[in-house]
Symmetry: C2
Subunit: 340 residues, 2 copies
Amino acid sequence: MLAFVGLGIRGEESLTLEGLKELQRADEVYAELYTSPLPQLNLSNLEKMIGKKVRVLNRREVEEGVELLKASKERRVALLVPGDPMIATTHIALRLKAEALGVRTKVVHSSSIISAAAGLTGLQNYKFGRSATLPLGQTSAHPYEVLGENLERGLHTLLFLDVKADEGRYMTANEGIDYLLQLEKQLKKGYFPSNRLALVVARAGGDDCLVKGGRAGELAGMSFGPPPHVLVVPGRLHFMEAEALQTLTGVHPDALAEQEFLQVRGLRETLLKEIEKWTERLEREVGPLKSKPKMENILAYLRDSEHFREKGDLVKSFECLIWAWALFQLVGVKSAEDKR
Amino acid sequence: MLAFVGLGIRGEESLTLEGLKELQRADEVYAELYTSPLPQLNLSNLEKMIGKKVRVLNRREVEEGVELLKASKERRVALLVPGDPMIATTHIALRLKAEALGVRTKVVHSSSIISAAAGLTGLQNYKFGRSATLPLGQTSAHPYEVLGENLERGLHTLLFLDVKADEGRYMTANEGIDYLLQLEKQLKKGYFPSNRLALVVARAGGDDCLVKGGRAGELAGMSFGPPPHVLVVPGRLHFMEAEALQTLTGVHPDALAEQEFLQVRGLRETLLKEIEKWTERLEREVGPLKSKPKMENILAYLRDSEHFREKGDLVKSFECLIWAWALFQLVGVKSAEDKR
């Protein structure tokens, strides 16, 4: 049997009672500690609590899983992992390998930065869009694009900062913010200007947990202490969320007020605004000429546009309006009027 | 001091060691148990473990918080909540009230359905879009629209099923699936046809935890046992996720293969396809006439369209193409050609 036991976001103290019991009755206990740093973990303390040694595996040993799977075939084995198990792809792959070999698997859940980050900042969990990771040692536009996609919808974004714990490398919140500011300079889509509101969560769940919010450009120069850090970029804020950010993360009301001017307009919103603009314009210009010749086509396009808009087909709705306008401009309704 | 202590998704056994310590040293312990059912929670067992009584509060008592806040001002108080604290808006509101009164607050994290649901199904966490709740006793299109928004982007969706534990009412996965199938019948956007792949997670973290995947129409008739249930609707699948769904949730390969035909096309994708179609068409028709009179404007619109497309402004790019086409059709280039 192979049990994946979550260590939680803190260390041996964020083990659950169920997890502790599982470790106590396991024949062998392994641990992987490279997917996330756990500054408060005291391994020898943990070993005392469970009454046995913990063998820490390196990245290759977990990914290949030879020793682990061999042991799990014959005995009750527990693999300790940081946070809640199965968030790292490696854990899922290992679980599937075990099941394919006929080894029974089990998951003991614990706390995860995924729900903790929302809770600590006071932002509402259901308003988070997809998350992304800022990778160490390479520049990828992907997290910037994910951020933009969420901002367009008014959603919050949780950004993980890459960890290569086995190489002792951790991206800090400052490096993460610089990373995004650089991408903004290159791609200029307005997703992360230096006055964009950002939140740093450092050492979530630890006794020295720190949550700090402010304009990205200001946070970039502050110090947040040792890892792990994550970044959160808020989308549109409910008034209670705005209050929470001030109370729990020290955001200045001026920085909050500025966000109104940094809204990222999505494709749907843009199309709706364009449709509104052209409909108004046409109705204003066409209205007084309704009875003139050659107007039937234009009025038919206007009706079609409204029909498609109601059905939710914004592309067709917009297309009809441009056609109506082009007809109006080009087919001499206007010039007939002018000559009158 | 007011400490929010997460009970985790299981009950007293998913308390963390830190949480247990916090309860043991608290002067008073309260609990709210209405935001989520915890079938494995044994309250008298918990009381024995912490050496004191737990006073269970009802919804009103938590929302108003009078007794809680009064006690927290003078003594060390712990409030036990299901899952990870601060996921429910009520907890955030209460925390803000406490801070405003000068009461120090603290959060002890524990496991949450939010990360557990991803892990148990083998789906990758960073591919989940925003989540939504199917509400009891009312029909709202909101969760259906959230699902569509995520599917358009290939993202997975976690759907919470409403709980009114204080009234003993819980939406089952079957009711949740029917809810979405009904909305599909009304709104017909193709987000949730009866062969859409869905996953039911019942009693996550419990000893009798059940994870079952299949076509929505088939799951609707199955039995998943007592609450709590949640639904997951997968988006585009990585091959390892597809393997995980078969191994961990029993999805039939045929049901997986069918999903290819159920893809939801987003606004961006639709606009890009339209732009491609019109560009090709114009180039084909306009190409042989390039040197004819009145063609400069049309060619200028084509160039503008390409320019806007490269800049990522799809609406303007599309608008230019429709103008080019309208000009081509209406301003006699074609008729001049026909008369030739």
